[in-house]
């Protein structure tokens, strides 16, 4: 739990510094925008978690999010009265299908994960254009019952936990339970720490990889429907593009060892919260929009370096 403790301290320091520099940072309105930043990130990061623990990586999640958001949008055009749960099921199914495709290519085709998912990143993005005919999903097509999930929620004082965030935390809670108590999740950890030993113990690498990439796809698909709920529109060219970078950064900052074998769901939640806070802080501190990507990249790099340095010290002690 040491790692999570450190993250909490970083968060407190970040909030303190930002509040000192710009008191507006801790306004309820601003906290709301941090909380609204989190759900998509959190759901996709929980999906990425088993993949990275099992020594893999899924770079295609931004395109999976995009393709499932567009699929839901296209379906909504012809059936505008689909109920909200159905929209989530459709998003999830599209994501699961694409994730399993990744899994098949990686587990059975033995294509390295980086290559396979860079390839499917492009292929899925192309399919997004094909499916949407290049047209964006209009806000008129997205029903209010869906966008309400982002604007309404549980109010605590002036701070709102949107329904999207509730869904995100629920997903994280299920994953946390699974990672702690379910055997197949323990198998993923075992495989990530030592694939050879895990194999001798009877853990099939193919199963581990299929579950990982399937979960990653499924949850990115859910995030696709959440994207429509939050933004109300989706452009086939830009929906979810670059999302993989943010998610992988959140997971890495959350203390999941990028070389596999260890990590925790509470860490991932804190990593997402930290990234969301940094992003909102950039806006509130009035940093020119043109500088945001730069500061963002630097943050990730610094987090990675701190991570390696602290790991090295722990190894020496």
């Amino acid at each position: 739990m040491k790692r999570e403790f450190g993250l909490v301290i970083v968060l407190i320091v970040l909030f303190g510094v930002c509040h000192w520099a710009q008191p507006r940072f801790t306004d309820p309105r601003n906290l709301n925008s941090i909380l609204l930043w989190m759900p998509l990130l959190l759901v996709a990061a929980v999906g990425q978690f088993p993949v990275i623990v099992a020594r893999g990586i899924d770079i295609s999640i931004g395109s999976i999010l995009g393709l499932s958001a567009i699929s839901v949008g296209v379906l909504l055009k012809s059936n505008p009265h689909l109920p909200v749960p159905a929209l989530f099921v459709i998003g999830a199914l599209v994501g699961l299908l694409l994730g399993c495709l990744n899994g098949l290519v990686i587990a059975f085709g033995k294509v390295p994960a980086v290559v396979a998912t860079i390839g499917t990143l492009t292929a899925f993005r192309g399919l997004t254009f094909v499916l949407s005919q290049g047209e964006q999903v209009n806000s008129t097509a997205v029903p209010d019952s869906l966008t309400k999930l982002a604007s309404k929620g549980i109010d605590i004082g002036q701070v709102t936990l949107s329904w999207l965030l509730v869904i995100g935390l629920l997903v994280a809670a299920i994953a946390w339970f699974a990672a702690r108590y379910l055997q197949f999740y323990r198998d993923i950890f075992a495989y990530g720490s030592n694939p050879d030993a895990a194999y001798l113990r009877g853990i099939s690498p193919k199963t581990v990889q299929m579950i990982g990439y399937g979960a990653s796809g499924l949850l990115s698909g859910v995030a696709g429907t959440m994207y429509l709920a939050r933004f109300g529109t989706a452009n086939p060219g830009s929906v979810g593009s670059g999302f993989e970078l943010i998610v992988i950064a959140a997971v890495a900052i959350g203390g999941v060892k990028i070389t596999g074998g260890s990590g925790s769901i509470p860490g991932v939640i804190l990593g997402c919260l930290l990234l969301a806070s940094i992003n909102v802080a950039l806006v509130v501190l009035g940093i020119d929009a043109n500088w945001q990507t730069l500061v963002y990249g630097a943050t990730i790099l610094i987090a990675l370096i701190i991570d390696t340095l602290s790991n090295r010290r722990r190894a020496l002690a």
Partner: protein, 318 residues
């Protein structure tokens, strides 16, 4: 499978025959040649990427490095700097960016795909910060490298081929190449053998940086303006070329010939789709598929050759 290059070679021939049969435009040799200018930039990046991937690393930041260099050079040279100084400036900036990647990977002991995922955002972010939404005009002296040609060969193609030959010699005939193959096969063993692992890794990234500088110059010269949203997806295309050319993504295996052949494959495929008015979005899907399928095909081929009985070693007697 001793020579995995036969896969891109056969595919290239098949693609050429197919498109030549269905479209007369594809048979126009002059058009085909002039079109190579569009692919020289990612080709140059692929040459550097071959070194990096053979050493067991990857560089996801090359597209961002190109855009940052291109923007800096355009900005710098539009203030009336003479051409040779601008060229030198581009090469230095590119090499510097590559070296930064190499240093971060070796000194901080971080996986290369993570470091370069971060510098991918960092470098493009720097380009966005420097340029803002504006675009910088490239001065006249630097423009139009793709227009004139030598004996009918466009200059970008010539630069690509010359660089390919030089880096090919470095990879296959010089000690740096041996080090990179060694590191890619087994970094720990290479370290114990006394290979200068860090030096070689940084060199591979620095060489790629130098090629980034050249690619940025060609991009500036070809387009005449620089903006912060150029060169998107270049890293993907470079990786596709390298991996489809039979270089093992896990390192230790690969040839420059394979990179050349698969560059031809990608170029003919894209040109063929272009002259047949295939929509760009379909092209995107097809390029992604080429990447995955070529690696898959190589795995299948390798598994067939592995199951064959190994030939008994000849023992020299007398």
């Amino acid at each position: 499978m001793k020579r995995p290059e036969w896969i891109p070679a056969i595919l290239t021939i098949a693609v050429v025959v197919f498109f030549a049969a269905i479209s007369p435009d594809f048979r126009d040799f002059r058009y085909l040649l002039s079109n190579t200018s569009l692919y020289a930039e990612t080709g140059l990046l692929a040459i550097g990427m071959t070194l990096i991937i053979i050493s067991g690393n990857i560089d996801l930041s090359v597209g961002s490095s190109v855009v940052l260099t291109a923007c800096l050079v355009a900005k710098f040279s539009s203030e009336g700097t003479p051409l040779p100084v601008s060229v030198l400036f581009a090469l230095i900036i590119g090499t510097l960016l590559g070296t930064i990647n190499g240093l971060l990977i070796t000194l901080a002991k971080l996986p290369s795909f993570l470091v370069t995922l971060a510098t991918m955002a960092l470098f493009r972010g720097a380009a966005e910060a420097i340029m803002g939404p504006a675009s910088a005009k490239v001065p006249h002296a630097l423009k139009g490298i793709d227009r004139p040609d030598l004996f009918g060969l466009p200059y970008p193609l010539l630069i690509f081929l010359v660089v390919l030959a030089i880096v090919g010699i470095v990879l296959h005939r010089m000690i740096l190449g041996r080090w990179l193959f060694g590191i890619g096969t087994n970094a720990e063993a290479a370290r114990y053998t006394g290979f200068p692992v860090n030096k070689a890794t940084i060199s591979a990234f620095a060489i790629t940086g130098l090629l980034v500088g050249i690619a940025a110059l060609i991009l500036d010269s070809r387009l005449g303006v620089a903006r912060n949203d150029l060169a998107k997806g270049y890293e993907l295309e470079a990786i596709t070329i390298v991996v489809a050319g039979g270089t093992a993504i896990s390192g230790g295996k690969g040839t420059m010939l394979g990179t050349l052949l698969s560059w031809l494959l990608l170029y003919f495929t894209k040109t063929g789709m272009g002259v047949n008015n295939v929509k760009p979005e379909y092209q995107l899907t097809i390029v992604g598929l080429i990447l995955v399928l070529s690696v898959f095909a190589q795995n299948v081929a390798a598994s067939f050759s592995n199951t064959r009985q190994p030939k008994p070693t000849k023992i020299q007697t007398g």
